[in-house]
C-alpha cells in the first residue's frame, strides 16, 4: 500500500532526506524553514536510520560541518533561508573548490537585508550564478510542489554524488509552508563506513597502507595548476549543462504565447494557462525544474514556435536574463514580477501577458508594471 501523507513542504524534504539515506544534517533556525530542523530533531533519526542531526551555532558553522562530513564521504546537508544562505557562501565556495557533494535547501524569503519572512524568488542570481567567490556553479533544483520538495531530497543527493557537486533546492516560503499530499518511498539504507571507503576513494576516511593519503583542499598557489583545476571544473559544468537539464512543458504543443516560470510562480502561471485557454488564448508554460542547468535549448526551440514569452518571477527580473540569453532576440521576452514577499495572482499575470502581446498598443488601457 502506498504511504501517502499530508505534509508541509519543509517537513516533506526532511522526511525525504531521512528516506534517502542522509548521514547528517547541520542547521540553524530561520523562518520560513525552521520546520526542517524541528522535524528532523523530533524524528529520532539516530534510532531510525543512524542519521545525525545537530543544531549549530550559526549558518557559517552549519555549512562547515557539512564540509567536514562531505569531505569524509558522507551524505550531508543543511537548510536555511535567504539571510542564512548569504552567510553560508564562504563554505559553499570552499565546497565548490574541493568538489564536495552536498544537499543545500534555500527556502527563499524576501530581501535584501532582513527583508521579510514572506516567499520570494529574489535569490535566483545567488543560487544560479554562484553566490560565493570564484568561478563555480551548483546544480539548482526548483520544486513547485510539496511532492517535489520530497522527491528532490533523493534526486539532489544522487546528482550531488554523481557529479561531486553541491545541489541546491531553491524553494520559497510558499512551497516550504504549504501543505499537500505526498507519496513517500521506501527508506534507502545509509552506506556503511566500509561502503564509503570503497565507493568514494577520494574521501578522508583515514589513510590505510594500501593508498596514498587523501587531502581535501581548494588551495593551489601555482597559477598554472590553479587554472587547470578551474578548467576541469568548467568541463564538469558543461557536461552537467548537456546532460542534466530538467523542465516541464504545460500545454506547449500548440502554444502561441508562453509563460516561463519556476517554483511558486509556475503554480500561478499554470492556473493562468487554464484561464487563458478558457478565453481562447493559446498559451502554455515552460517550467524550468533545473535552474542550473537552465533549459536554454528547449526555450530556443519554443522561440521558433511562439510569438512572445512572458517570464513571471517573484523578483525584479533575474531568471528572465537566462530566458533572453536562450532566446537571443528571436521573440520578445517580457518580465513581470512582484517583490518583497507578494505572490502574483493568476488573472494578474494573464492580464500582463495579454497586455504585452495580444492587445494592440492603441487598445491598451494602462502600461503594466515592468518590475
Amino acid at each position: 500500500m502506498k504511504d501517502i501523507r499530508l505534509m508541509k513542504g519543509n517537513e516533506a524534504i526532511a522526511e525525504g532526506v531521512i528516506r534517502a539515506g542522509c548521514d547528517g544534517y547541520f542547521g540553524y533556525p530561520i523562518t520560513p524553514q525552521s520546520e526542517v530542523l524541528e522535524y528532523l530533531s523530533a524524528a529520532n533519526t539516530k534510532q531510525r536510520t543512524g542519521m545525525i542531526v545537530l543544531q549549530a551555532e550559526s549558518e557559517i558553522a552549519s555549512i562547515h560541518m557539512v564540509y567536514g562530513g562531505a569531505a569524509a564521504g558522507k551524505r550531508v546537508m543543511t537548510s536555511s533561508s535567504s539571510p542564512g544562505i548569504s552567510l553560508m557562501q564562504e563554505g559553499i565556495s570552499f565546497m565548490a573548490g574541493t568538489e564536495l557533494p552536498c544537499l543545500l535547501l534555500n527556502v527563499v524569503r524576501g530581501g535584501p537585508g532582513l527583508g521579510t519572512i514572506q516567499p520570494s524568488q529574489s535569490d535566483y542570481f545567488q543560487a544560479v550564478k554562484g553566490g560565493g567567490h570564484g568561478d563555480y556553479k551548483m546544480i539548482v533544483l526548483a520544486p513547485a510542489s510539496v511532492q517535489e520538495m520530497y522527491d528532490f531530497a533523493k534526486l539532489g543527493f544522487d546528482l550531488a554524488f554523481k557529479h561531486r557537486i553541491q545541489v541546491m533546492v531553491l524553494s520559497d516560503g510558499a512551497i516550504g509552508q504549504m501543505m499537500e499530499k505526498v507519496e513517500l518511498d521506501e527508506e534507502i539504507p545509509r552506506l556503511t563506513d566500509a561502503e564509503i571507503v570503497k565507493k568514494y576513494p577520494w574521501a578522508t576516511t583515514g589513510k590505510t597502507p594500501d593508498r596514498e593519503r587523501n587531502i581535501i583542499t581548494s588551495l593551489d598557489l601555482n597559477p598554472v595548476k590553479q587554472e587547470i583545476i578551474n578548467i576541469n571544473l568548467q568541463k564538469k559544468f558543461k557536461h552537467i549543462q548537456e546532460t542534466e537539464v530538467r523542465f516541464e512543458r504545460i500545454m506547449c504543443d500548440d502554444a502561441e504565447y508562453l509563460f516561463v516560470a519556476y517554483g511558486s510562480s509556475a503554480r500561478v502561471c499554470q492556473k493562468a494557462v487554464m484561464l487563458g485557454r478558457a478565453k481562447g488564448i493559446k498559451v502554455g508554460l515552460l517550467r524550468p525544474i533545473t535552474l542550473f542547468p537552465f533549459p536554454s535549448i528547449e526555450l530556443a526551440k519554443l522561440a521558433k514556435q511562439v510569438k512572445g514569452m512572458q517570464a513571471i518571477e517573484m523578483s525584479a527580473g533575474q531568471m528572465v536574463e537566462d530566458v533572453r540569453l536562450a532566446v537571443n532576440g528571436a521573440v520578445p521576452v517580457e518580465h513581470y514580477g512582484r517583490l518583497g514577499g507578494i505572490i502574483p495572482a493568476p488573472d494578474e499575470v494573464l492580464n500582463v501577458l495579454e497586455q504585452n502581446f495580444i492587445i494592440s498598443k492603441k487598445e491598451k488601457k494602462y502600461e503594466p508594471a515592468t518590475y
Binding site: A61, H64, A71, K207, I215
Partner: protein, 260 residues
C-alpha cells in the same frame, strides 16, 4: 679508552637512538628556520605513529602559516576555511565517532575569525582535539596584530605598539574555554627547549588518548615564537618569548581530568 664510532658503525639499527617519524613526509618544511611549527608537527605525528592511529586519523588544517600542514603530515587531511576548523572537525567526528579527529590552528585562526566556532565546539563538548599554536601575531600574512598580541607589541598593523585602549587586550582564549564544562583537558605548553618539548609531547599524548574517552574536547596550546614576524633571530625570539609571552600566557595544565 673507547674508540669513537665511525659513521658507518653509527648507521646500524642496533645503534639507533632516534629516528624521524615515518608520518612526516619528505617535503621540505615551508616554515621559517627557528619557528616552532616544525617541532609541533613532529610531536603530533610521532605520537600518532606511536599510538598506531594513522588509519584512524583525520586532521583539519587551517588558514595561516600551517595552511599547508597536509603537505608534511602523512595522514588524511581536510583544509578548512579561515577559523572554521572546529566546525569542520565537528562534522567529521559526529559522523565518524571512532576516528581520531584533530585541528591544528594558529591564534589568528582560532582566537579571532574562528572564535565562535572554537567556543561552541568546546561548549558542545565535541570529542575532538585542538592543537593551538599561539605566537601572538599573524605570521602568514606578514606580521599583523593578532588577538593574542601583547600590549605595546609592535606589528605591521600596530606599528606604534598595541594600544589596549583602542586595540583591546590579549585574548586568553585557553583560560576562557577551560571554564566551559565541555572541555576535558586543557593545557599550555611550549617547544623551545628540550625539556619543554618532552613536556609538550606528554601533553599531546594525553590529548590524543583522552579523545577515546568521549568526555569532551581536549585542547593543547603551544606558545611559540615567530622570529620572522617579531623581527628577531630565533634565539632572540625564544628569549623574548620567555620574558614577555610566558608572563601573559603561563605554561602548565589549566584543566586536568579528575581522578587521573
Amino acid at each position: 679508552m673507547s674508540q669513537l664510532l665511525t659513521r658507518e658503525e653509527i648507521c646500524v639499527p642496533e645503534n639507533e637512538v632516534y629516528s624521524r617519524t615515518c608520518l612526516l613526509t619528505d617535503a621540505a618544511l615551508s616554515y621559517c628556520p627557528g619557528c616552532g611549527h616544525g617541532t609541533a608537527h613532529r610531536l603530533i605525528m610521532e605520537t600518532i605513529e606511536e599510538m598506531n592511529l594513522q588509519a584512524d586519523t583525520i586532521g583539519v588544517a587551517p588558514v595561516g602559516c600551517s595552511v599547508l600542514a597536509y603537505d608534511f603530515m602523512d595522514i588524511d587531511m581536510q583544509q578548512a576555511a579561515h577559523g572554521r576548523a572546529p566546525a569542520v572537525a565537528t562534522g567529521i567526528k559526529r559522523l565518524y565517532p571512532n576516528k581520531f579527529v584533530f585541528t591544528y590552528q594558529g591564534d589568528g585562526d582560532l582566537a579571532a575569525i574562528g572564535t565562535g566556532e572554537t567556543i561552541h565546539a568546546c561548549n558542545r563538548g565535541e570529542n575532538i582535539t585542538i592543537f593551538f599554536v599561539n605566537n601572538g601575531i599573524y605570521g602568514m600574512t606578514g606580521g599583523q596584530m593578532a588577538p593574542t598580541t601583547l600590549p605595546g607589541m609592535k606589528t605591521a598593523t600596530s606599528p606604534y605598539g598595541r594600544d589596549t585602549e583602542t586595540m583591546g587586550y590579549p585574548l586568553k582564549i585557553t583560560e576562557l574555554i577551560a571554564m566551559l564544562p565541555g572541555t576535558y583537558y586543557v593545557t599550555r605548553q611550549s617547544v623551545h627547549t628540550p625539556a619543554n618539548v618532552r613536556k609538550c609531547k606528554k601533553a599531546i599524548e594525553k590529548a590524543i588518548q583522552y579523545q577515546k574517552l568521549n568526555k569532551g574536547l581536549c585542547f593543547v596550546e603551544i606558545v611559540s615564537n615567530c622570529n620572522s614576524g617579531w623581527k628577531m633571530t630565533p634565539l632572540e625570539s625564544n628569549k623574548w618569548m620567555e620574558e614577555n609571552m610566558f608572563p601573559m600566557y603561563p605554561l602548565g595544565d589549566i584543566k586536568v581530568p579528575k581522578q587521573i
